[in-house]
């Protein structure tokens, strides 16, 4: 009994000593761990503490190891340890700053409010196109405030079809990325960036006008920076215009309807010095009736794309399975202007087809790409699969080129069939070009030449080739299952 107690005690003591050694080694090796150690100098460390995060795009990619005063006493030096993933994104022209609560005045808004209740942390921003990674041990001059150009990261991406133009303004009036662009009081776009012209004579403001509002910008449109102005006379009373710009400056423009021609991407215009005097045109009489003009021209045929889907099925007891599938899909623009590809779910969702003896299959690293006949390749996100088990899925494309056209809505039939006409299979080949049209057969074997391809009759698409529910037999899956949000207008 005594021996057992002593033995257990000895085990505990030895365990404690080993654990103590392990802890000391862990603490010693914290600085030697994989990653890139950096020193960043600040004039003011703003209460930065050792142990807090280093973040890139809001993701923690490193740790502050220590904060100290530099040898000459003029700077605070923070020692950072970037994890390998963070080190990949830290380049020689990255900007580092301390995130603390900042109030940039009425126009600048407040930033870093999370650090009111959290520790201050270091964030860094790497301008696009930077490739020279920081070498370990670099000493970098940190910024005292966030760089202005870090803000576009918070803006929505430019979408296919948006108008990108440059406005030359004599004075910035505190415009910044994200400031609104307003037409008839309606936001139609935003400021992407603000920079001083190389000559220093004016400021160049990059604007994005959303696709659905591009027709409001003509070469006759007048631009100005919205800021409050008072007009009128002592006796007749005052009119204050653009009062809302007191807090947030914006860019406004106006063009009378029917005047001028639509502008192209890259259009440059000079802003007026102040709000020009103009008469706002009344609501045209024909607007009371349904107005269908101004729609972008559409192609006249079904647009088919080639789809490549890759994924990995993780297996617990055996090697992971690589999944690679090819097939087709039908491209069109949905009611909100997104480029949508509708296809068979069995093509683009491995969890739908794979079985795992141990429960649901674990699918990882899914990548879906869409190829067009002209050679462009776009990434696609699977945004919808049919919840009732029909073999139907919808993808939304990203980084679509401006000239991408979809299947016109009058060629898509959501619900019902076309009777009395022979059914045809239309699909895209490996190069994205459409394969020869095949007649629909009763005993169809699924292959990459037809999976996800569309079933057309009389030039109209009403379904895709997929699996029969609960089976692997080929079947026509009607487009009627597609939700209204994903259908064209």
């Amino acid at each position: 009994m005594h021996r057992l107690r002593y033995f257990i005690g000895l085990l505990t003591l030895v365990g404690a000593i080993i654990a103590a050694i392990w802890i000391v080694r862990l603490l010693r090796s914290l600085d030697d761990r994989a990653g890139v150690p950096l020193s960043v100098e600040f004039r003011n460390a703003r209460g930065l503490r050792a142990g807090t995060d280093v973040r890139y795009r809001g993701v923690t990619v490193g740790t502050v190891r220590s904060v100290a005063i530099s040898g000459d006493g003029n700077k605070a030096v923070a020692q950072l340890l970037l994890e390998p993933i963070g080190a990949e994104h830290a380049c020689v022209n990255s900007s580092f700053w301390v995130v603390t609560p900042r109030f940039g005045g009425l126009t600048g808004g407040a930033t870093g409010l999370d650090t009111l209740v959290r520790d201050s942390y270091i964030a860094f921003y790497t301008p696009p196109g930077s490739e020279s990674e920081l070498s370990p041990g670099s000493l970098i001059a940190g910024r005292e405030r966030p760089p202005l150009n870090a803000e576009p990261e918070a803006l929505d991406d430019v979408e296919h079809g948006d108008l990108l133009m440059t406005l030359l303004v004599p004075e910035n009036y505190e415009l910044k990325p994200g400031s609104s662009v307003i037409f008839r009081g309606v936001p139609t776009g935003d400021v992407r960036s603000v920079s001083l012209a190389p000559s220093g004579t004016h400021v160049e403001v990059q604007l994005r006008i959303q696709r659905e509002h591009r027709q409001t910008v003509t070469d006759k449109a007048k631009f100005w920076v919205g800021r409050p102005s008072v007009s009128g006379a002592l006796l007749s009373g005052f009119t204050v215009t653009d009062l809302s710009a007191l807090l947030t400056p914006y860019i406004s423009y106006y063009g009378a309807p029917g005047e001028g021609v639509l502008v192209q991407d890259g259009y440059r215009a000079a802003a007026e010095l102040s709000r020009p005097a103009f008469e706002i045109s009344p609501v045209p009489g024909n607007a009371v009736q349904q107005d269908n003009t101004g729609k972008p021209a559409a192609p006249d045929d079904v647009v088919l794309v080639r789809i490549t889907y890759a994924a990995v099925e993780r297996d617990t007891f055996s090697a992971d399975d690589q999944i690679l599938r090819h097939g087709s899909g039908v491209l069109f623009l949905d009611r909100s202007g997104r480029s949508v590809v509708v296809t068979a779910r069995s093509l683009v969702d491995a969890s739908f087809t794979e079985d795992d003896a141990w429960g649901d299959p674990e699918i990882a690293d899914e990548v879906t790409k869409v190829h067009r006949a002209d050679g462009t390749v776009m990434r696609a996100h699977r945004v919808w699969v049919d919840p009732t088990g029909q073999d139907l899925a919808a993808l939304v494309l990203e980084d679509v080129p401006p000239d991408l056209l979809g299947t016109p809505s009058d060629r898509l039939v959501f619900g019902g069939t076309v009777a009395g006409v022979p059914l045809q299979i239309r699909a895209a080949g490996p190069d994205g070009a459409e394969l020869p049209i095949q007649p629909m057969a009763s005993e169809l074997a699924l292959s990459e030449a037809n999976l996800g391809g569309c079933i057309a009759a009389d030039g109209k698409v009403f379904g895709v080739i997929g699996r029969k529910v609960g089976d692997v037999v080929a079947a026509i899956v009607s487009l009627e299952y597609l939700p209204a949000d994903l259908r064209p207008q």
Partner: protein
């Protein structure tokens, strides 16, 4: 010189609050050398007190009996201003025999042999002479008669001139009592010039062996020598009333007691330093190993529970979800590592070890084992205090280490359970403000409190023990005082260093 003991107008009185209890008055008696005397008298009459005076076993923490006149033993005066000690010339077999429990019977004899500078190899011969040719391995296995035999063998180890026995036949049947009496007489006859005094109520057992009967006449407050045939004849009448006038006032008495207590504390502390170089090396090593290994798991589990719970709930009950997690972890880590867990480890260690240590010492005191040590010429401080101090001073930091490390590991688990912080993040934050300096402070706190707890345990355990209740009381006090010392040291040093 043919006299063993000479009493000249000798008086003996117990000091009691508010008065004295006079035991002997104007005793004039001479005991010749080489005599085997049976010492009888009423219970509580002062026989044992006289025996303790002769053996030099006066309790130092209580007012000593007041002696008047002269008592000369083997030419050395035990009274007056310059009292002398009989040292190796006297050996005593006390009530309960005072055999050291943790040693074997043979080791008990060997220890006495070594203490008086004789060869340990004589032990089997001594035991055989006492009628125990092959004693069992442990003292606990001895029967009452065997205990007496071992005690006789041990007493003879120093071949004393004066052999004192306190009730050697108590609790034995007449046959066994007779055997022991015979054994004592044989032992007496073995050495030329040995004087033996046996306190007993069993005159029959000793009748054929005694040279004379020493009678303590309680009513007469006198001591006289009678022939061996003497029997007490119902004279155990009422003792004379306490002579209040002769005594000192209660206040003086209690002040004296207080001062003696303080002096005893001082003496223990001085002993703890002066006796620090280990004499009984085996004792030191055994005690250290036991004190380290026994409570290690106990304290580690306690530390893990404290560290784990503190971290888990600090993170979980964070009023701001995910806010200041590193700061919370840093604070918890510093407090748990440098303050809380070392202190609680000290508490757990004290509760676990101090109780046992003080109970052991108290029992040894109560069963005359400590007195036996002193009789053998072994300083109880060497045998008990020094090992205790070394063991506590070494074990307390080691056990605290177990607690602190277990707390840290539990905190790591709790951190991963309560937040998304990684192991590296935990280590960075938890130990951010913990430095080597803190480790030194923990070491200082645990070492100092270990030392103080050891001194307190020994002091309380080795105080006067009249009953088992006194032992219990001293255990109780050892825990309370030990905890208070741990608390004081930890709070004081923490405040001094960090505030």
């Amino acid at each position: 010189m043919s006299e063993a003991l000479v009493f000249r107008n000798f008086g003996l009185a117990h000091r009691r609050p508010g008065g004295e209890e006079v035991l002997l008055e104007g005793v004039n008696l001479t005991l010749p050398k080489n005599g085997f005397f049976v010492f009888i008298g009423t219970s509580g009459g002062g026989k044992s007190s006289l025996l303790r005076i002769l053996a030099g076993l006066i309790e130092s923490r209580e007012p000593a009996p007041r002696m008047s006149g002269e008592l000369i033993a083997f030419g050395k005066s035990l009274t007056g201003d310059r009292t002398e000690s009989l040292n190796n010339e006297v050996a005593a077999i006390l009530q309960d025999e005072g055999l050291l429990d943790e040693l074997s019977p043979r080791q008990n004899v060997e220890m006495a042999l070594a203490a008086s500078g004789r060869s340990r190899k004589l032990a089997p011969a001594l035991l055989a002479q006492a009628g125990l040719a092959s004693p069992p391995e442990r003292v606990a296995q001895l029967s009452g008669g065997m205990r007496k035999r071992v005690a006789v063998a041990r007493a003879l180890a120093s071949s004393p001139q004066l052999l004192l026995c306190d009730e050697p036949t108590a609790g034995l049947d007449p046959e066994a009592a007779h055997t022991i009496a015979k054994l004592l007489r044989e032992a007496h006859d073995q050495d030329e010039g040995r004087t033996t005094i046996v306190i007993t109520h069993d005159l029959d057992a000793f009748e054929e062996f005694a040279d004379g009967v020493l009678v303590l006449d309680r009513p007469a407050r006198s001591l006289r020598l009678e022939p061996p045939e003497f029997r007490l004849k119902g004279q155990d009448a009422v003792a004379k009333a306490t002579d209040a006038a002769a005594g000192e006032p209660a206040a003086v008495h209690w002040t004296r007691r207080m001062l003696l207590q303080l002096a005893a504390i001082g003496e223990t502390i001085v002993d703890s330093v002066r006796r620090l170089p280990p004499v009984e090396m085996g004792q030191v090593v055994r005690t250290t190993v036991r004190f380290t290994l026994e409570p290690a798991l106990f304290v580690a589990v306690a530390g893990a529970v404290i560290g784990g719970l503190a971290t888990f709930f600090a993170l979980r009950n964070n009023p701001i979800d995910g806010g200041f997690e590193t700061a919370l972890l840093t604070g918890t880590g510093k407090v748990a590592t440098a303050v809380l867990v070392p202190m609680l480890s000290g508490f757990f260690f004290t509760a676990r070890i101090a109780a046992g240590a003080s109970a052991r010492i108290g029992t040894m005191k109560r069963t005359n084992q400590i007195a036996a040590l002193r009789m053998m010429g072994v300083n109880p401080a060497d045998y008990l205090l020094t090992p205790l101090v070394w063991a506590m001073v070494i074990a307390m930091p080691l056990v605290t280490l177990c607690g602190v490390v277990a707390a840290a590991l539990a905190a790591a688990l709790a951190t991963s359970a309560a937040s998304g912080i990684t192991m590296v993040g935990w280590a960075t934050a938890y130990f951010m403000t913990v430095s080597a300096h803190d480790v030194l402070v923990i070491l200082a706190k645990s070492t100092l409190s270990g030392y103080l707890v050891a001194v307190a345990c020994y002091h309380l355990g080795s105080g006067p023990k009249r009953s088992g209740a006194d032992v219990g009381e001293s255990v109780n006090s050892a825990i309370v005082v030990g905890m208070a010392l741990v608390l004081t040291v930890h709070a004081g040093l923490t405040f001094l260093v960090y505030a």
